[in-house]
Protein backbone atom coordinates (compact mmCIF):
# COMPACT_ATOMS: atom_id res chain seq x y z
CA UNK A 1 0.00 0.00 0.00
CA UNK A 2 1.25 3.41 -0.88
CA UNK A 3 1.81 6.24 1.53
CA UNK A 4 -0.71 9.03 1.63
CA UNK A 5 -1.27 12.44 3.11
CA UNK A 6 -4.33 11.26 4.98
CA UNK A 7 -4.44 10.98 8.74
CA UNK A 8 -6.07 7.61 8.43
CA UNK A 9 -6.07 5.33 5.41
CA UNK A 10 -8.14 2.15 5.61
CA UNK A 11 -7.70 -0.01 2.54
CA UNK A 12 -9.38 -3.27 1.51
CA UNK A 13 -10.20 -4.01 5.12
CA UNK A 14 -12.15 -7.16 5.91
CA UNK A 15 -13.06 -8.97 9.08
CA UNK A 16 -15.29 -11.98 9.41
CA UNK A 17 -16.76 -13.63 12.48
CA UNK A 18 -17.47 -17.31 11.81
CA UNK A 19 -17.94 -16.65 8.13
CA UNK A 20 -20.06 -13.55 8.62
CA UNK A 21 -18.31 -10.60 7.02
CA UNK A 22 -18.83 -7.71 9.41
CA UNK A 23 -16.52 -5.49 7.37
CA UNK A 24 -16.25 -6.34 3.71
CA UNK A 25 -13.40 -4.96 1.61
CA UNK A 26 -13.79 -1.48 2.98
CA UNK A 27 -11.69 1.50 1.93
CA UNK A 28 -11.89 4.80 3.74
CA UNK A 29 -9.67 7.86 3.97
CA UNK A 30 -9.86 10.49 6.67
CA UNK A 31 -8.14 13.83 6.22
CA UNK A 32 -6.26 15.67 8.91
CA UNK A 33 -8.55 18.33 10.45
CA UNK A 34 -11.62 16.52 9.20
CA UNK A 35 -14.73 15.64 11.17
CA UNK A 36 -16.27 12.60 9.57
CA UNK A 37 -19.56 11.14 10.64
CA UNK A 38 -20.34 7.50 9.93
CA UNK A 39 -23.99 6.61 9.76
CA UNK A 40 -25.79 3.45 8.81
CA UNK A 41 -28.48 1.05 9.98
CA UNK A 42 -27.89 -1.30 12.91
CA UNK A 43 -25.40 -4.03 12.13
CA UNK A 44 -23.79 -2.07 9.33
CA UNK A 45 -20.39 -2.56 10.97
CA UNK A 46 -19.79 0.97 12.23
CA UNK A 47 -18.64 0.03 15.71
CA UNK A 48 -16.67 -2.91 14.32
CA UNK A 49 -14.79 -0.48 12.11
CA UNK A 50 -13.76 1.57 15.13
CA UNK A 51 -12.84 -1.65 16.96
CA UNK A 52 -10.55 -2.56 14.09
CA UNK A 53 -8.88 0.83 14.01
CA UNK A 54 -8.22 0.93 17.75
CA UNK A 55 -7.24 -2.73 17.95
CA UNK A 56 -10.09 -4.19 19.96
CA UNK A 57 -10.76 -6.53 17.04
CA UNK A 58 -8.11 -7.94 14.73
CA UNK A 59 -8.54 -7.54 10.99
CA UNK A 60 -8.78 -10.65 8.81
CA UNK A 61 -7.16 -8.87 5.88
CA UNK A 62 -6.44 -5.41 4.58
CA UNK A 63 -4.51 -2.47 5.89
CA UNK A 64 -5.09 0.34 8.36
CA UNK A 65 -2.53 3.11 8.23
CA UNK A 66 -2.34 5.99 10.64
CA UNK A 67 0.02 8.72 9.44
CA UNK A 68 1.49 6.03 7.17
CA UNK A 69 2.19 3.63 10.03
CA UNK A 70 0.65 0.22 9.59
CA UNK A 71 -1.58 -0.59 12.56
CA UNK A 72 -3.04 -4.02 11.90
CA UNK A 73 -0.42 -5.97 13.85
CA UNK A 74 0.16 -3.38 16.57
CA UNK A 75 -0.86 -3.80 20.23
CA UNK A 76 -3.73 -1.60 21.41
CA UNK A 77 -1.76 0.53 23.83
CA UNK A 78 0.85 1.28 21.17
CA UNK A 79 -1.83 2.55 18.80
CA UNK A 80 -3.03 4.86 21.57
CA UNK A 81 0.51 6.11 22.06
CA UNK A 82 0.70 6.90 18.36
CA UNK A 83 -2.20 9.28 18.88
CA UNK A 84 -5.46 7.39 18.46
CA UNK A 85 -8.17 7.96 21.03
CA UNK A 86 -11.42 6.07 21.18
CA UNK A 87 -14.58 6.71 23.14
CA UNK A 88 -16.82 3.73 23.73
CA UNK A 89 -20.54 3.55 23.13
CA UNK A 90 -21.48 3.28 26.79
CA UNK A 91 -19.61 5.85 28.83
CA UNK A 92 -16.45 4.16 29.98
CA UNK A 93 -15.11 6.05 32.96
CA UNK A 94 -13.70 5.04 36.32
CA UNK A 95 -16.76 5.37 38.52
CA UNK A 96 -14.89 5.02 41.82
CA UNK A 97 -12.43 7.77 41.08
CA UNK A 98 -13.00 11.50 41.16
CA UNK A 99 -13.34 13.53 37.98
CA UNK A 100 -9.87 14.90 38.64
CA UNK A 101 -8.38 11.43 38.96
CA UNK A 102 -10.16 10.24 35.85
CA UNK A 103 -8.49 12.99 33.90
CA UNK A 104 -5.16 12.68 35.70
CA UNK A 105 -4.88 8.96 34.95
CA UNK A 106 -5.42 9.73 31.29
CA UNK A 107 -2.47 12.11 31.16
CA UNK A 108 0.04 10.57 28.77
CA UNK A 109 2.99 10.31 31.13
CA UNK A 110 4.13 7.56 33.47
CA UNK A 111 2.66 4.85 31.30
CA UNK A 112 5.15 2.15 32.27
CA UNK A 113 5.06 0.36 35.63
CA UNK A 114 7.97 2.26 37.12
CA UNK A 115 6.97 5.44 35.37
CA UNK A 116 3.61 5.19 37.12
CA UNK A 117 5.30 4.61 40.48
CA UNK A 118 7.44 7.70 40.01
CA UNK A 119 4.69 9.84 38.48
CA UNK A 120 4.10 13.13 40.24
CA UNK A 121 0.97 15.18 39.75
CA UNK A 122 2.93 18.37 39.09
CA UNK A 123 1.75 21.79 37.96
CA UNK A 124 1.85 20.79 34.31
CA UNK A 125 -0.59 17.94 34.93
CA UNK A 126 -2.83 20.07 37.11
CA UNK A 127 -2.91 22.84 34.53
CA UNK A 128 -3.79 20.37 31.81
CA UNK A 129 -6.55 18.76 33.91
CA UNK A 130 -7.91 22.23 34.61
CA UNK A 131 -7.81 23.18 30.94
CA UNK A 132 -9.56 20.03 29.78
CA UNK A 133 -12.13 20.23 32.56
CA UNK A 134 -12.94 23.77 31.46
CA UNK A 135 -13.21 22.60 27.85
CA UNK A 136 -15.78 19.95 28.75
CA UNK A 137 -17.51 22.29 31.19
CA UNK A 138 -16.76 20.34 34.32
CA UNK A 139 -14.15 22.48 36.05
CA UNK A 140 -16.46 22.88 39.05
CA UNK A 141 -16.95 19.13 39.45
CA UNK A 142 -13.33 18.02 39.76
CA UNK A 143 -13.78 16.49 43.21
CA UNK A 144 -17.02 14.71 42.38
CA UNK A 145 -16.91 10.95 42.25
CA UNK A 146 -17.38 10.09 38.60
CA UNK A 147 -20.06 7.50 39.35
CA UNK A 148 -22.33 10.25 40.63
CA UNK A 149 -22.28 12.26 37.39
CA UNK A 150 -25.26 12.39 35.07
CA UNK A 151 -25.19 10.30 31.93
CA UNK A 152 -24.37 13.26 29.72
CA UNK A 153 -21.58 14.40 32.03
CA UNK A 154 -20.09 10.92 31.93
CA UNK A 155 -19.99 11.13 28.14
CA UNK A 156 -18.23 14.47 28.36
CA UNK A 157 -15.82 13.17 30.93
CA UNK A 158 -14.81 10.34 28.66
CA UNK A 159 -14.23 12.80 25.83
CA UNK A 160 -12.17 14.86 28.27
CA UNK A 161 -10.10 11.81 29.17
CA UNK A 162 -9.29 11.40 25.50
CA UNK A 163 -8.46 15.08 25.13
CA UNK A 164 -5.91 14.71 27.94
CA UNK A 165 -3.90 12.58 25.53
CA UNK A 166 -4.15 15.13 22.71
CA UNK A 167 -4.91 12.46 20.13
CA UNK A 168 -4.48 13.19 16.46
CA UNK A 169 -7.33 10.87 15.61
CA UNK A 170 -10.36 10.88 17.86
CA UNK A 171 -13.08 8.28 17.42
CA UNK A 172 -16.40 8.79 19.18
CA UNK A 173 -19.02 6.08 19.25
CA UNK A 174 -22.46 7.66 19.70
CA UNK A 175 -21.35 10.58 21.86
CA UNK A 176 -24.83 12.04 22.36
CA UNK A 177 -26.70 8.84 23.19
CA UNK A 178 -28.97 9.49 26.13
CA UNK A 179 -28.42 13.25 26.17
CA UNK A 180 -31.02 15.98 26.56
CA UNK A 181 -31.54 18.55 23.81
CA UNK A 182 -29.48 21.13 25.66
CA UNK A 183 -26.68 18.65 26.24
CA UNK A 184 -26.69 17.76 22.56
CA UNK A 185 -26.20 21.39 21.64
CA UNK A 186 -23.30 21.71 24.04
CA UNK A 187 -21.76 18.52 22.67
CA UNK A 188 -22.04 19.78 19.12
CA UNK A 189 -20.22 22.94 20.12
CA UNK A 190 -17.61 20.89 21.94
CA UNK A 191 -17.03 18.70 18.90
CA UNK A 192 -16.67 21.71 16.64
CA UNK A 193 -14.05 23.13 18.98
CA UNK A 194 -12.04 19.95 19.43
CA UNK A 195 -11.88 18.95 15.77
CA UNK A 196 -9.32 21.71 15.22
CA UNK A 197 -5.89 20.21 14.51
CA UNK A 198 -7.09 16.66 14.56
CA UNK A 199 -9.14 14.15 12.66
CA UNK A 200 -12.39 13.09 14.29
CA UNK A 201 -14.62 10.15 13.44
CA UNK A 202 -18.09 10.16 14.95
CA UNK A 203 -20.68 7.41 14.76
CA UNK A 204 -24.14 8.84 15.20
CA UNK A 205 -27.78 8.12 14.46
CA UNK A 206 -29.31 11.50 15.15
CA UNK A 207 -29.57 13.17 11.72
CA UNK A 208 -30.13 16.68 13.04
CA UNK A 209 -26.96 16.34 15.07
CA UNK A 210 -25.05 14.89 12.13
CA UNK A 211 -26.08 17.80 9.96
CA UNK A 212 -24.83 20.19 12.59
CA UNK A 213 -21.33 18.80 12.94
CA UNK A 214 -20.33 16.77 9.89
CA UNK A 215 -17.83 17.92 7.30
CA UNK A 216 -18.44 14.74 5.37
CA UNK A 217 -20.69 11.76 5.93
CA UNK A 218 -20.00 8.11 5.19
CA UNK A 219 -22.95 5.74 5.00
CA UNK A 220 -22.20 2.12 5.80
CA UNK A 221 -24.38 -0.85 4.98
CA UNK A 222 -23.60 -4.53 5.50
CA UNK A 223 -19.92 -3.92 6.08
CA UNK A 224 -19.49 -1.81 2.96
CA UNK A 225 -19.53 1.85 2.16
CA UNK A 226 -22.78 2.80 0.47
CA UNK A 227 -22.23 6.48 -0.05
CA UNK A 228 -19.85 9.22 0.95
CA UNK A 229 -19.92 12.99 0.68
CA UNK A 230 -21.57 16.11 2.10
CA UNK A 231 -24.74 15.56 4.11
CA UNK A 232 -27.12 17.01 1.48
CA UNK A 233 -25.73 14.84 -1.26
CA UNK A 234 -25.84 11.70 0.84
CA UNK A 235 -29.38 12.36 1.99
CA UNK A 236 -30.52 12.69 -1.61
CA UNK A 237 -28.82 9.48 -2.67
CA UNK A 238 -31.49 6.94 -3.72
CA UNK A 239 -29.41 3.99 -2.41
CA UNK A 240 -29.24 5.58 1.02
CA UNK A 241 -32.95 6.32 1.07
CA UNK A 242 -33.57 2.75 0.05
CA UNK A 243 -31.51 1.32 2.91
CA UNK A 244 -33.01 3.62 5.50
CA UNK A 245 -36.64 3.42 4.44
CA UNK A 246 -36.69 -0.21 3.38
CA UNK A 247 -37.67 -1.67 0.06
Amino acid sequence: MSNTDFALAVEDLSVSFDGFKAIDDLTLYIDRNELRVIIGPNGAGKTTLLDLICGKTRASSGSIKFKNTELTKMAEHKRVRLGIGRKFQTPSIYENLSVFQNLEVSFPKGRSVFGALAFQCDDEVKARVQAVATEIGMDDRLDTEAGLLSHGQKQWLEIGMLLMQEPELLMLDEPIAGMSARERELTAELLKRICQNRAVIVIEHDMAFVKQIAHKVTVMHQGKILAEGPMEKVQADPKVIDVYLGH
Binding site: E76, N102, V105, A116, L117, C121
Partner: protein, 396 residues
Protein backbone atom coordinates in the same frame (compact mmCIF):
# COMPACT_ATOMS: atom_id res chain seq x y z
CA UNK B 1 1.95 21.12 60.30
CA UNK B 2 -0.70 20.89 57.64
CA UNK B 3 1.68 18.93 55.45
CA UNK B 4 2.25 16.51 58.31
CA UNK B 5 -1.49 16.14 58.81
CA UNK B 6 -2.03 15.61 55.11
CA UNK B 7 0.63 12.94 54.83
CA UNK B 8 -0.68 11.20 57.96
CA UNK B 9 -4.05 11.06 56.30
CA UNK B 10 -2.68 10.08 52.93
CA UNK B 11 -0.68 7.15 54.23
CA UNK B 12 -3.25 6.25 56.89
CA UNK B 13 -0.55 6.54 59.50
CA UNK B 14 -3.12 6.76 62.29
CA UNK B 15 -4.36 3.21 61.93
CA UNK B 16 -0.83 2.00 61.25
CA UNK B 17 0.46 3.59 64.46
CA UNK B 18 -2.34 1.94 66.38
CA UNK B 19 -1.33 -1.40 64.91
CA UNK B 20 2.33 -0.85 65.77
CA UNK B 21 1.34 0.07 69.30
CA UNK B 22 -0.65 -3.13 69.61
CA UNK B 23 2.00 -5.37 68.09
CA UNK B 24 5.10 -3.81 69.58
CA UNK B 25 3.88 -2.79 73.02
CA UNK B 26 0.53 -4.20 74.10
CA UNK B 27 0.91 -7.80 72.96
CA UNK B 28 4.51 -8.34 74.15
CA UNK B 29 3.56 -6.93 77.57
CA UNK B 30 0.41 -8.96 77.98
CA UNK B 31 1.33 -12.34 76.48
CA UNK B 32 3.87 -14.91 77.56
CA UNK B 33 6.57 -15.89 75.09
CA UNK B 34 4.73 -19.00 73.93
CA UNK B 35 1.66 -16.99 72.96
CA UNK B 36 3.74 -14.15 71.57
CA UNK B 37 5.57 -16.64 69.36
CA UNK B 38 2.16 -17.79 68.11
CA UNK B 39 1.26 -14.18 67.31
CA UNK B 40 4.55 -13.94 65.45
CA UNK B 41 3.54 -16.97 63.44
CA UNK B 42 0.18 -15.40 62.62
CA UNK B 43 1.96 -12.24 61.54
CA UNK B 44 3.90 -14.19 58.95
CA UNK B 45 0.54 -15.00 57.33
CA UNK B 46 -0.26 -11.31 57.48
CA UNK B 47 2.48 -10.72 54.89
CA UNK B 48 0.50 -12.89 52.51
CA UNK B 49 -2.74 -11.14 53.44
CA UNK B 50 -1.17 -7.73 52.83
CA UNK B 51 0.00 -8.96 49.44
CA UNK B 52 -3.51 -10.18 48.71
CA UNK B 53 -4.88 -6.72 49.44
CA UNK B 54 -2.71 -5.48 46.60
CA UNK B 55 -3.46 -8.30 44.16
CA UNK B 56 -7.08 -9.01 44.98
CA UNK B 57 -8.40 -5.84 46.59
CA UNK B 58 -6.59 -3.33 44.39
CA UNK B 59 -5.70 -5.42 41.36
CA UNK B 60 -9.00 -7.26 41.26
CA UNK B 61 -7.22 -10.54 40.57
CA UNK B 62 -7.96 -13.34 43.00
CA UNK B 63 -5.09 -15.73 43.56
CA UNK B 64 -5.77 -18.97 45.34
CA UNK B 65 -2.12 -19.98 45.29
CA UNK B 66 -0.37 -17.50 47.55
CA UNK B 67 0.76 -20.39 49.73
CA UNK B 68 3.17 -21.27 46.93
CA UNK B 69 5.13 -18.06 47.42
CA UNK B 70 4.89 -18.26 51.20
CA UNK B 71 6.20 -21.81 50.91
CA UNK B 72 9.03 -20.95 48.54
CA UNK B 73 10.25 -18.19 50.84
CA UNK B 74 9.88 -20.49 53.82
CA UNK B 75 11.70 -23.35 52.14
CA UNK B 76 14.51 -21.06 51.04
CA UNK B 77 15.07 -19.98 54.62
CA UNK B 78 14.57 -23.50 55.97
CA UNK B 79 17.16 -24.89 53.55
CA UNK B 80 19.74 -22.47 54.87
CA UNK B 81 18.89 -23.30 58.48
CA UNK B 82 18.81 -27.01 57.73
CA UNK B 83 22.26 -26.92 56.17
CA UNK B 84 23.59 -25.16 59.21
CA UNK B 85 21.92 -27.71 61.49
CA UNK B 86 23.48 -30.53 59.46
CA UNK B 87 27.12 -29.82 60.21
CA UNK B 88 29.41 -32.86 60.05
CA UNK B 89 29.71 -33.07 63.84
CA UNK B 90 26.03 -33.34 64.65
CA UNK B 91 25.39 -35.67 61.72
CA UNK B 92 28.36 -37.94 62.25
CA UNK B 93 26.18 -41.03 62.74
CA UNK B 94 24.85 -40.67 59.16
CA UNK B 95 26.41 -42.69 56.36
CA UNK B 96 27.18 -39.36 54.67
CA UNK B 97 27.80 -36.80 57.38
CA UNK B 98 27.29 -33.12 56.60
CA UNK B 99 24.11 -33.41 54.55
CA UNK B 100 20.57 -32.99 55.89
CA UNK B 101 19.24 -36.08 57.65
CA UNK B 102 16.36 -36.72 55.25
CA UNK B 103 18.81 -36.89 52.35
CA UNK B 104 20.79 -39.51 54.17
CA UNK B 105 17.63 -41.55 54.81
CA UNK B 106 16.89 -41.43 51.08
CA UNK B 107 20.29 -42.77 50.08
CA UNK B 108 21.50 -39.46 48.71
CA UNK B 109 25.22 -39.18 49.20
CA UNK B 110 26.05 -35.67 48.09
CA UNK B 111 24.40 -32.30 48.47
CA UNK B 112 22.34 -31.56 45.30
CA UNK B 113 23.56 -28.58 43.29
CA UNK B 114 20.44 -26.47 43.89
CA UNK B 115 21.12 -26.61 47.62
CA UNK B 116 24.56 -25.03 47.28
CA UNK B 117 23.44 -21.36 47.16
CA UNK B 118 21.71 -21.86 50.49
CA UNK B 119 25.04 -22.25 52.24
CA UNK B 120 25.35 -18.47 52.26
CA UNK B 121 23.02 -16.30 54.32
CA UNK B 122 23.11 -13.21 52.06
CA UNK B 123 22.31 -15.33 49.00
CA UNK B 124 19.52 -17.06 50.92
CA UNK B 125 18.03 -13.73 51.95
CA UNK B 126 18.00 -12.62 48.33
CA UNK B 127 16.49 -15.91 47.19
CA UNK B 128 13.75 -15.69 49.83
CA UNK B 129 12.35 -12.81 47.81
CA UNK B 130 13.74 -13.59 44.36
CA UNK B 131 12.51 -17.16 43.95
CA UNK B 132 8.84 -16.40 44.72
CA UNK B 133 9.00 -13.30 42.54
CA UNK B 134 10.56 -15.18 39.64
CA UNK B 135 7.88 -17.86 39.73
CA UNK B 136 5.18 -15.23 40.12
CA UNK B 137 6.57 -13.38 37.13
CA UNK B 138 6.57 -16.55 35.05
CA UNK B 139 2.98 -17.45 35.93
CA UNK B 140 1.54 -13.98 35.72
CA UNK B 141 3.41 -12.96 32.59
CA UNK B 142 2.18 -16.05 30.77
CA UNK B 143 -1.38 -15.55 32.01
CA UNK B 144 -1.89 -11.80 31.90
CA UNK B 145 -0.26 -11.33 28.51
CA UNK B 146 -2.85 -13.78 27.20
CA UNK B 147 -5.54 -11.89 29.13
CA UNK B 148 -6.39 -14.81 31.32
CA UNK B 149 -8.10 -13.47 34.39
CA UNK B 150 -10.84 -13.92 36.92
CA UNK B 151 -11.86 -17.46 37.76
CA UNK B 152 -9.42 -18.98 35.27
CA UNK B 153 -6.49 -17.29 36.90
CA UNK B 154 -7.67 -18.41 40.33
CA UNK B 155 -7.92 -22.00 39.15
CA UNK B 156 -4.47 -21.92 37.59
CA UNK B 157 -2.88 -20.54 40.74
CA UNK B 158 -4.63 -23.27 42.66
CA UNK B 159 -3.22 -25.85 40.27
CA UNK B 160 0.26 -24.43 40.81
CA UNK B 161 -0.22 -24.80 44.56
CA UNK B 162 -1.20 -28.42 44.08
CA UNK B 163 1.70 -29.13 41.73
CA UNK B 164 4.24 -27.66 44.13
CA UNK B 165 2.85 -29.69 47.03
CA UNK B 166 3.01 -32.89 45.01
CA UNK B 167 6.52 -32.04 43.90
CA UNK B 168 7.74 -31.36 47.42
CA UNK B 169 6.16 -34.51 48.84
CA UNK B 170 7.32 -36.65 45.94
CA UNK B 171 10.95 -35.51 45.99
CA UNK B 172 11.48 -36.58 49.56
CA UNK B 173 15.23 -36.90 49.22
CA UNK B 174 15.64 -33.30 48.13
CA UNK B 175 12.91 -31.59 50.11
CA UNK B 176 12.21 -33.60 53.21
CA UNK B 177 8.92 -34.81 51.77
CA UNK B 178 5.71 -34.63 53.73
CA UNK B 179 7.51 -34.08 57.02
CA UNK B 180 9.19 -31.01 55.69
CA UNK B 181 12.38 -29.62 57.15
CA UNK B 182 12.53 -30.04 60.88
CA UNK B 183 15.03 -29.45 63.65
CA UNK B 184 16.06 -26.00 62.52
CA UNK B 185 18.21 -24.65 65.30
CA UNK B 186 20.63 -21.89 64.60
CA UNK B 187 21.25 -19.02 62.22
CA UNK B 188 24.97 -18.25 61.87
CA UNK B 189 25.47 -19.88 65.25
CA UNK B 190 22.68 -17.89 66.91
CA UNK B 191 20.24 -20.23 68.63
CA UNK B 192 16.77 -19.27 67.37
CA UNK B 193 14.97 -21.43 69.94
CA UNK B 194 15.74 -19.40 73.04
CA UNK B 195 13.22 -16.97 74.52
CA UNK B 196 15.39 -13.96 73.79
CA UNK B 197 15.80 -15.05 70.17
CA UNK B 198 12.05 -15.46 69.90
CA UNK B 199 11.53 -11.92 71.16
CA UNK B 200 14.04 -10.59 68.68
CA UNK B 201 12.54 -12.54 65.80
CA UNK B 202 9.09 -11.34 66.79
CA UNK B 203 10.20 -7.73 66.63
CA UNK B 204 12.00 -8.28 63.35
CA UNK B 205 8.79 -9.76 62.00
CA UNK B 206 6.74 -6.76 63.18
CA UNK B 207 9.26 -4.32 61.73
CA UNK B 208 9.27 -6.09 58.36
CA UNK B 209 5.49 -6.23 58.31
CA UNK B 210 5.21 -2.52 59.00
CA UNK B 211 7.77 -1.86 56.26
CA UNK B 212 5.71 -4.03 53.91
CA UNK B 213 2.56 -2.08 54.72
CA UNK B 214 4.30 1.24 54.17
CA UNK B 215 5.68 0.01 50.85
CA UNK B 216 2.25 -1.16 49.70
CA UNK B 217 0.65 2.07 50.88
CA UNK B 218 3.19 3.98 48.85
CA UNK B 219 2.31 1.93 45.78
CA UNK B 220 -1.39 2.50 46.43
CA UNK B 221 -1.00 6.27 46.63
CA UNK B 222 1.14 6.42 43.51
CA UNK B 223 -0.37 6.65 40.05
CA UNK B 224 0.02 2.89 39.83
CA UNK B 225 -2.47 2.49 42.67
CA UNK B 226 -4.97 4.71 40.92
CA UNK B 227 -4.43 2.74 37.73
CA UNK B 228 -5.10 -0.53 39.51
CA UNK B 229 -8.42 0.81 40.75
CA UNK B 230 -9.18 2.11 37.27
CA UNK B 231 -8.33 -1.26 35.73
CA UNK B 232 -10.55 -3.09 38.16
CA UNK B 233 -13.40 -0.85 37.08
CA UNK B 234 -12.87 -0.50 33.30
CA UNK B 235 -9.92 -2.46 32.06
CA UNK B 236 -10.54 -1.62 28.41
CA UNK B 237 -10.60 2.08 29.11
CA UNK B 238 -7.15 1.83 30.72
CA UNK B 239 -5.84 -0.25 27.82
CA UNK B 240 -7.19 2.25 25.32
CA UNK B 241 -5.64 5.08 27.27
CA UNK B 242 -2.22 3.79 26.26
CA UNK B 243 -1.34 1.46 29.13
CA UNK B 244 -0.10 -2.08 28.84
CA UNK B 245 -2.53 -3.41 31.42
CA UNK B 246 -0.82 -6.78 31.86
CA UNK B 247 2.44 -5.20 33.08
CA UNK B 248 0.68 -3.58 36.01
CA UNK B 249 -0.93 -6.85 37.01
CA UNK B 250 2.37 -8.69 36.70
CA UNK B 251 4.05 -6.10 38.91
CA UNK B 252 1.40 -6.34 41.60
CA UNK B 253 1.44 -10.12 41.55
CA UNK B 254 5.23 -10.18 41.87
CA UNK B 255 5.09 -7.65 44.71
CA UNK B 256 2.64 -9.84 46.60
CA UNK B 257 4.76 -12.91 45.92
CA UNK B 258 7.90 -11.23 47.25
CA UNK B 259 6.07 -10.18 50.43
CA UNK B 260 4.68 -13.69 50.87
CA UNK B 261 8.22 -15.03 50.54
CA UNK B 262 9.40 -12.79 53.37
CA UNK B 263 6.47 -14.03 55.44
CA UNK B 264 7.44 -17.62 54.74
CA UNK B 265 11.05 -17.00 55.74
CA UNK B 266 9.96 -15.40 59.02
CA UNK B 267 7.71 -18.40 59.56
CA UNK B 268 10.59 -20.86 59.18
CA UNK B 269 12.69 -18.80 61.55
CA UNK B 270 10.06 -18.39 64.25
CA UNK B 271 8.37 -21.77 64.12
CA UNK B 272 11.54 -23.74 63.47
CA UNK B 273 10.28 -25.92 60.66
CA UNK B 274 8.72 -25.77 57.21
CA UNK B 275 6.47 -28.36 55.63
CA UNK B 276 4.31 -28.79 52.51
CA UNK B 277 1.19 -28.27 54.61
CA UNK B 278 1.82 -24.50 54.33
CA UNK B 279 2.11 -24.59 50.56
CA UNK B 280 -0.97 -26.29 49.20
CA UNK B 281 -4.51 -25.35 48.35
CA UNK B 282 -6.00 -25.29 51.84
CA UNK B 283 -3.49 -22.87 53.37
CA UNK B 284 -3.70 -20.72 50.23
CA UNK B 285 -7.45 -20.43 50.60
CA UNK B 286 -7.10 -19.77 54.32
CA UNK B 287 -4.85 -16.85 53.49
CA UNK B 288 -7.54 -15.43 51.23
CA UNK B 289 -9.95 -15.73 54.15
CA UNK B 290 -7.59 -13.77 56.43
CA UNK B 291 -7.57 -11.03 53.83
CA UNK B 292 -11.34 -11.13 53.30
CA UNK B 293 -12.13 -10.99 57.00
CA UNK B 294 -9.77 -8.09 57.57
CA UNK B 295 -11.03 -6.26 54.51
CA UNK B 296 -9.51 -6.64 51.11
CA UNK B 297 -9.10 -2.94 50.57
CA UNK B 298 -7.28 -2.31 53.84
CA UNK B 299 -3.65 -3.23 54.43
CA UNK B 300 -3.94 -2.77 58.17
CA UNK B 301 -7.25 -4.61 58.16
CA UNK B 302 -5.59 -7.61 56.54
CA UNK B 303 -3.20 -7.85 59.49
CA UNK B 304 -6.09 -7.82 61.95
CA UNK B 305 -7.82 -10.41 59.80
CA UNK B 306 -4.81 -12.71 59.93
CA UNK B 307 -4.46 -12.22 63.70
CA UNK B 308 -8.13 -12.73 64.55
CA UNK B 309 -8.83 -15.70 62.32
CA UNK B 310 -5.69 -17.48 63.47
CA UNK B 311 -6.36 -16.69 67.11
CA UNK B 312 -9.84 -18.09 66.57
CA UNK B 313 -8.40 -21.12 64.87
CA UNK B 314 -6.02 -21.82 67.72
CA UNK B 315 -8.71 -21.23 70.32
CA UNK B 316 -11.41 -23.33 68.67
CA UNK B 317 -9.26 -26.10 67.33
CA UNK B 318 -7.92 -26.61 70.85
CA UNK B 319 -11.45 -27.33 72.07
CA UNK B 320 -13.41 -28.44 68.97
CA UNK B 321 -10.90 -29.70 66.42
CA UNK B 322 -13.60 -31.21 64.19
CA UNK B 323 -15.75 -28.13 64.01
CA UNK B 324 -13.06 -25.68 63.03
CA UNK B 325 -13.21 -26.23 59.27
CA UNK B 326 -16.96 -25.71 59.22
CA UNK B 327 -16.60 -22.61 61.30
CA UNK B 328 -13.95 -21.29 58.94
CA UNK B 329 -16.15 -21.90 55.91
CA UNK B 330 -19.08 -20.29 57.69
CA UNK B 331 -16.92 -17.31 58.52
CA UNK B 332 -15.91 -16.87 54.90
CA UNK B 333 -19.48 -17.09 53.64
CA UNK B 334 -20.67 -14.81 56.42
CA UNK B 335 -18.05 -12.20 55.69
CA UNK B 336 -18.69 -12.11 51.96
CA UNK B 337 -22.45 -11.96 52.45
CA UNK B 338 -22.74 -9.61 55.40
CA UNK B 339 -19.75 -7.32 55.14
CA UNK B 340 -17.89 -7.78 51.88
CA UNK B 341 -15.35 -5.13 52.78
CA UNK B 342 -14.38 -7.05 55.92
CA UNK B 343 -13.69 -5.65 59.34
CA UNK B 344 -12.10 -2.53 57.88
CA UNK B 345 -15.24 -1.88 55.86
CA UNK B 346 -17.39 -2.43 58.93
CA UNK B 347 -15.29 0.11 60.78
CA UNK B 348 -15.37 2.70 58.01
CA UNK B 349 -19.02 2.37 57.02
CA UNK B 350 -20.78 1.59 60.27
CA UNK B 351 -18.77 2.25 63.40
CA UNK B 352 -17.09 5.51 62.45
CA UNK B 353 -20.24 7.27 61.16
CA UNK B 354 -22.12 6.04 64.23
CA UNK B 355 -19.39 7.34 66.51
CA UNK B 356 -19.31 10.69 64.74
CA UNK B 357 -23.06 11.19 64.94
CA UNK B 358 -22.94 10.13 68.57
CA UNK B 359 -20.29 12.73 69.36
CA UNK B 360 -22.28 15.29 67.44
CA UNK B 361 -25.35 14.46 69.48
CA UNK B 362 -23.44 14.71 72.72
CA UNK B 363 -21.99 18.05 71.72
CA UNK B 364 -25.42 19.41 70.86
CA UNK B 365 -26.79 18.09 74.09
CA UNK B 366 -24.09 19.95 75.95
CA UNK B 367 -24.92 23.24 74.25
CA UNK B 368 -28.70 23.14 74.44
CA UNK B 369 -30.69 23.23 77.67
CA UNK B 370 -31.28 19.72 79.01
CA UNK B 371 -35.05 19.78 78.49
CA UNK B 372 -34.64 20.18 74.74
CA UNK B 373 -31.65 17.92 74.46
CA UNK B 374 -33.51 14.99 75.95
CA UNK B 375 -36.17 14.87 73.23
CA UNK B 376 -34.62 15.11 69.75
CA UNK B 377 -32.61 12.11 68.85
CA UNK B 378 -30.26 13.04 66.07
CA UNK B 379 -30.78 10.52 63.34
CA UNK B 380 -27.75 8.60 62.30
CA UNK B 381 -26.84 9.93 58.88
CA UNK B 382 -26.94 7.27 56.22
CA UNK B 383 -23.35 6.37 55.37
CA UNK B 384 -22.51 7.92 52.07
CA UNK B 385 -21.91 5.51 49.21
CA UNK B 386 -18.17 5.96 49.29
CA UNK B 387 -15.40 3.43 49.34
CA UNK B 388 -13.32 2.93 52.44
CA UNK B 389 -10.56 5.36 53.14
CA UNK B 390 -7.60 4.74 50.93
CA UNK B 391 -9.68 4.36 47.84
CA UNK B 392 -9.42 7.52 45.89
CA UNK B 393 -7.44 9.24 48.58
CA UNK B 394 -5.04 10.63 46.05
CA UNK B 395 -6.94 13.84 45.60
CA UNK B 396 -4.69 16.71 44.87
Amino acid sequence: MNFLKASIQRYQLGSLLLLVLLLAVVLPLSLDIFRLNLVGKYLTYAFVAVGLVMVWGYGGVLSLGQGVFFGLGGYAMAMFLKLEASDPVSTKIQSTPGIPDFMDWNQITALPAFWLPFKSLPVTLILVVAVPMALAWLISFAMFKRRVGGVYFAIITQAVALILTVLIIGQQGYTGGVNGMTDLKTMLGWDTRTDSAKYILYYVCVALLVAAIVLCRWVQTSKLGTLLLAMRDKEDRVRFSGYDVSNFKVFTFCLAAGLSGIGGAMFALQVGFMSPSFVGIVPSIEMVIFCAVGGRMSLVGAVYGALLVNAGKTLFSESFPDLWLFLMAGLFIGVTMAFPMGLAGLWEEKIRPWWKSRRQALREAAVKPPAVAATPVVPTPEPEPTLPEGVGSQRA
